[in-house]
Amino acid sequence: MSGRGDDLRVIEALLFAAAEPVAEEVLSLRLGDGADVPALLAELAAFYEGRGVNLVRRGGGWVFATAPDLAPALRQERAVVRGLSRAAVETLAVIAYHQPITRAEIEAIRGVALGRGTLDRLLEAGWVRPKGRRESPGRPLNWVTTPNFLTHFGLGDLRELPGVDELRAAGLLEIGPTVLTDHDPRTAETPADE
């Protein structure tokens, strides 16, 4: 190694290839007496400032590390397939059919209080979102489905969701035989459906 430029290159390469932070004394040993290691390190650190990789002090030595501000861009997303709870699926269905709908209305239809994470899960999946507030006491949030919901389920728009009649025709509203009576309360209670 002759000149200062070469010393700089050697330090750069040594730090790059090192498996752990390198102490200044080690660099001095490697470069010989002539080299002003602290000055070289300062020059190198200044050179890398603002770049994608920075030269930083760590653990008593010097080490190259990726710039902290890039962390979000460097992290890689990994798709993890998850299942949805029955409660979440039902809640999604209720929102889809009854939107805009408040939390209280969802609970009234499902006949059960919404668990803590249920709406969060659907929000995270990108299928529902709040949209405005109901002008009623407490001004509760209205929930609606997102365009992403339509995309996921292959629907052009919300009108493509099958109606109640179609659900019944598909057997999705079927209810098994219940009691031995002369009159069927089903027909009595839901005359409008027929």
Binding site: R75, L84, V89, A96, L172
Partner: protein, 256 residues
């Protein structure tokens, strides 16, 4: 071959080591060819065969498991040499001429030489870990899990079906089933026991305020069952004059 190639030569016999330096008979041939110091393509196969045979017979002892390939080559070269020296016999089908055999050997020598050069060139290149060094501290970026939910339209619609069903099942009360029980029948009949001296039709003992349907049918059945109970207890007598005819009853020990 001769006794010189005794198979039981000591493992570390120097003459065995002579062959250990070569990567097979073609490699040995190539080494000998290089001694001719001419272009491999122009080398004299005849001279090369002589060199090879001389080299092999110069080995005093040979371990057979190492030498087998070399001996096969020696035999083949001896054959080739004779073919090259003698005029070609009348052409036999599928039998290459001496010149073709020599050309093939040329080709093999050149191919192996080329591969040896290539190997050397690879090793002379810029080798990772010898000439250049990779990043010593690779960084791993912890992956961020992005949840992907698997849910089909069918799942969604089924879920709505479930909800819809449950919602309507709440207003849908299953009515308490009304029917006339055996106890009712016993209690009702008890008031008449002992006061029916003549055979009388069972249907006459049904409660007065009978509605239609299930209630009536259950009243008939329960009243009949009650008469069987009372008859078993010896408190009344039962009689039916023909199948499906009216059921008649009277108090035990009645007038008839």
């Amino acid at each position: 071959m001769t006794d010189d190639f005794a198979a039981d030569a000591p493992r570390d016999a120097p003459l065995v080591l002579e062959l250990d330096g070569y990567e097979g008979p073609i490699d040995l041939l190539l080494a000998l060819a290089r001694e001719q110091k001419v272009d491999l393509g122009k080398i004299s196969i005849l001279a090369l065969a002589d060199q090879y045979l001389a080299f092999i017979s110069g080995l005093h002892r040979l371990r057979l498991e190492i030498a087998a390939d070399y001996l096969v080559m020696a035999a083949w070269l001896a054959y080739l040499k004779s073919r090259l020296l003698l005029p070609d016999p009348p052409a036999v089908d599928d039998e290459p001429s001496a010149e073709e055999l020599a050309a093939a050997l040329h080709q093999r020598l050149q191919l192996l030489a080329a591969m040896q050069r290539a190997g050397a060139a690879l090793m002379a290149g810029t080798l990772l870990g010898r000439d250049v060094f990779p990043r010593g501290q690779p960084e791993e970026f912890a992956p961020v899990d992005r949840p992907v939910y698997e849910l089909s339209l069918f799942d969604l619609l089924s879920a709505y079906g479930t909800t819809h069903r449950r919602q309507h099942a709440q207003v849908l009360t299953i009515m308490a089933t009304e029917f006339y029980s055996l106890d009712d029948g016993l209690r009702h009949l008890a008031q008449y026991v002992g006061h029916v001296p003549e055979w009388s039709d069972l249907m006459g003992f049904l409660p007065a305020e009978l509605r239609d349907g299930v209630f009536r049918r259950s009243a008939v059945a329960s009243t009949f069952a009650a008469t069987l109970e009372l008859a078993r207890a010896g408190r009344i007598e039962l009689r039916q004059e023909r199948p499906f005819g009216p059921l008649l009853l009277r108090s035990a020990g009645g007038a008839g």
